[in-house]
Symmetry: C3
Subunit: 370 residues, 3 copies
């Protein structure tokens, strides 16, 4: 549970946001930012934004544009106001904005492109929410992945919106063995190999890369931002990043990619989602979440290979795919206790609701719950 001081500030802010329409909009946008990592908390969102702007004003600016465009689209189309206020139409928009800014060259048309992509993410969000309602399943960041993929793929056909040098189509070479030593991409700089510094970079950049922020300091700020809202989510974010990187080291992935956190960010999201949020936290669901984090690091490599002939990025597709697969079994695995979508708030609340329901902390084994 969050410490008392931030909680009081949060309550005060919530009161202001209910009475002042301008603050209500700011609140919805900040919650939308926090929801990128499932944290429905405006302070978390504010710290996320700080972490992004510390790294890049360009990514931050186009991210905020996407955030505003997707939220406004939801409002204009008459989406449920409570969902809009909780930021559920914002988190895909900010990711679309940052993602397109990250992989495309900046020009005036890119601004329009971000607005179209963010609006599209809102339509996809509502489409998936309706599609998944029979199973009570979340859309996660699939609206971002789908909207950004389609718009990114397209630019290889366009003269007026151009890819950055990160887009490099090539057939995978089965004989090429990746260099596994941890090191920074920039030539000449930094130590090489399993140093404490390099591991720290891999760990914190893994958290930063959830929002394309390839910077240690941003990862630190992001982790603090999560901690403000939920200790359990912060713990599983950290465990996810660590396990994603360790999995990549074990299978011998490219050390430069590991250093820059690319094997961490999907594992971070899997860790948070499955570590107490969509399943009640128990020893068994904790192990389940960590296995999902490990699998997401492997699936990341798989999707990178799948997209390599067109040179496109995996984005958070590994997280979406793995979390859907690990979440869809729901009550089919009696070792796990799913949380109804309408009840999802924090991992801490899920545990205390479950204990109350089951009659105190000495709750029955999850296996008996159904």
């Amino acid at each position: 549970m969050a410490a008392a001081a931030p909680r009081r500030a949060a309550d005060a802010w919530a009161g202001l946001a209910q009475t002042n329409p301008a603050l209500a909009i700011v609140d919805a946008l900040l919650r939308g930012t926090g929801q990128v990592m499932f944290q429905n908390n405006p302070l978390t969102g504010l710290l996320f934004l700080a972490g992004i702007f510390v790294n890049s004003a360009k990514l931050g600016g186009l991210g905020v544009l996407g955030l505003a465009a997707s939220t406004l689209t939801a409002y204009l189309l008459g989406a449920d106001r409570t969902l809009v206020r909780n930021g559920l139409f914002g988190f895909n928009g900010i990711l679309v904005g940052i993602g397109l800014a990250f992989f495309l060259q900046y020009n005036g048309l890119l601004v329009v492109y971000v607005i179209v992509g963010a609006a599209l993410s809102t339509v996809v969000m509502m489409a998936l929410a309706n599609f998944f309602s029979p199973w009570d399943m979340p859309a996660l960041t699939a609206p971002f992945v789908l909207a950004a993929w389609l718009l990114l793929f397209a630019v290889l056909q366009f003269a007026n919106v151009r890819p950055s040098s990160l887009i490099a189509p090539a057939l995978p070479d089965p004989h090429a063995v990746p260099p596994t030593q941890l090191r920074e991409m920039a030539t000449g700089g930094g130590a090489v190999g399993l140093t404490a510094g390099n591991l720290a970079h891999a760990f914190f950049r893994g958290i930063g890369e959830v929002m394309f922020q390839d910077k240690l300091a941003t990862g630190v700020i992001f982790l603090v931002a999560i901690l403000v809202n939920s200790r359990i989510s912060a713990l599983f974010a950290a465990l996810g990043s660590a396990l994603g990187g360790l999995t990549a080291l074990t299978v011998g992935a490219n050390g430069v990619s590991i250093y820059h956190g690319l094997f961490g960010f999907n594992a971070v999201l899997c860790g948070i989602a499955l570590g107490g949020l969509f399943f009640v936290l128990t020893w068994r669901s904790a192990i389940y979440a960590l296995v999902a984090a490990i699998v997401s690091a492997l699936v990341f490599a798989g999707i990178v290979v799948l997209l390599s002939p067109i040179g496109m990025p995996a984005l958070t597709a590994p997280f979406v795919l793995v979390t859907w697969l690990f979440l869809l079994p729901k009550a089919g695995f009696r070792a796990l206790v799913p949380v109804a979508l309408a009840d999802v708030s924090t991992a801490e609340n899920a545990v205390s609701s479950y204990r109350t329901r089951e009659g105190g902390p000495a709750a029955a084994e999850p296996g008996d719950a159904s």
Copy 2:
């Protein structure tokens, strides 16, 4: 609403088709042709066929073969007779026939291949109809896209069914900037650039390309054919083709592709489907439909890039994907009023039913309807 004379002729024909089994079959096949653009009208279908045969007897002939094969398959498997009579098992079949004829070299085995593909489209149609029933969603031309894709991909492994020169696998080149000037593909011929003639070609070929008809006159006939059944559908077909082309010009797509209508045909279908057919026509749903048309032009480029390593065509997959995404939100967006699948006939009928239901032309705002 249709003019009086065609309507009287249509009523007379409908009477004949009910009493004469041979005419009933012709009627079902013509409606199947009309349904390619959602027009359940035998005269529209007849004009579509005229437009196709004006351009190519080969495409027309194999199209009619596919139409007959898919409709017969539905009949033999015992599909709902009303659906069969309304042409709902024909439109994917005619598209499979024309599509395979367009991308493959003609020989005796191609005829068998078309029959297998058309029969497969009927199975996929029923599969998707059943799959989508919990959401009351239409299969659109997905059965055509899926059946044609699988059979087209396969020929690169076969000696006896061969691709035409349109199939050219290549890795996309991120450094290549497409030539954006509007012009015809054939070297030497025609003006270059934004001339009225070139824009007319882009506009009408965009309508013709819905059925792979790369000819201005065919586009004109198709537009008249839609107009015979629904002024609103004709308007949105025209707006779709125009917006698809304009979007492509804005982002700087290949001018040859734009000239030949390749950025138009998916936007035409999105325009018709979302412009009054599956959502009641209002100012808000009109804008929504036009945004979908714009998005479909971008998604077309995205799917072309995705398939470029195997050199395969996007077909109407951009239309299917975008329309599914824009339709799935249904009542989740209160600004839009969805039409139940069983009630879909023409955009005009949807408006008048809605007005009747809501108590006259001075109907309440859609936003208040739910």
Copy 3:
């Protein structure tokens, strides 16, 4: 129906398995092996294992590891005990084990990789079971395909798990015409062309390749193993393999691939699944199943082309895709009588239940049943 002697032995075994926990585990694992071809029979599973070990101890050993790992995962996660005992969490695991062993180089890490893949297949199995429950549809071998694909794709990024020489990414060449003469891959050996011997190899290897067993004798053993449980399934397995190969010969596929049964194994599975198991066997459903087998051979080529830029195998994806498409129409085609998933046992039982329900062997036409 099975002959009397094996049936008595089966009943005796079932009795032992119910009382002895160790035998219960063996029974579940053997049924899991049999379920690869829908045969819930421990003797069939035992013969399948014999057929595999006759060909390769390495494939057999890693297959059994996958079988045990996926079954244990289901047990630990609290999956329905009856499903676990019937082998429904084993068949994807054994396929993951054999498949990874087939396409990857052996080392210590591969053993861990197989365990992770097999455990993942159990999660995907439960995910798909829950996803498909509104339509009462089976997951088939999709958990194997998805888990194995993701882990296979990934290794092109890893230094410590390496692909075998079977993984060879390349753009498809539309001008290349495959050599169509039947012959063995190994240079120099064996007759070339349509000899009885080559056709026998294509036929039996087509059955063996369901479990990656490229050996005539293994195919013979597999066919006997199916026959032990169901004559109808054995018949449709044989018809599937024959039709898959004949389809490939007709369209002019690569003769080496045909010889090694690669156009047969998906058709074998389509034949068994649709030939009396998920639809009651009638003349119409028999033809329907055989058309599906033919289509699966074409779809196999299509998926091979789709994956050729990353050099990855189609696995049983053609079977899964075609069977889902042909099964999803369910009662929408009145010519077919679907079997509820909970009632699926053998094709023979489905026919006799249907006859009992409809009032004796002189049952009404299926078309009238609804």
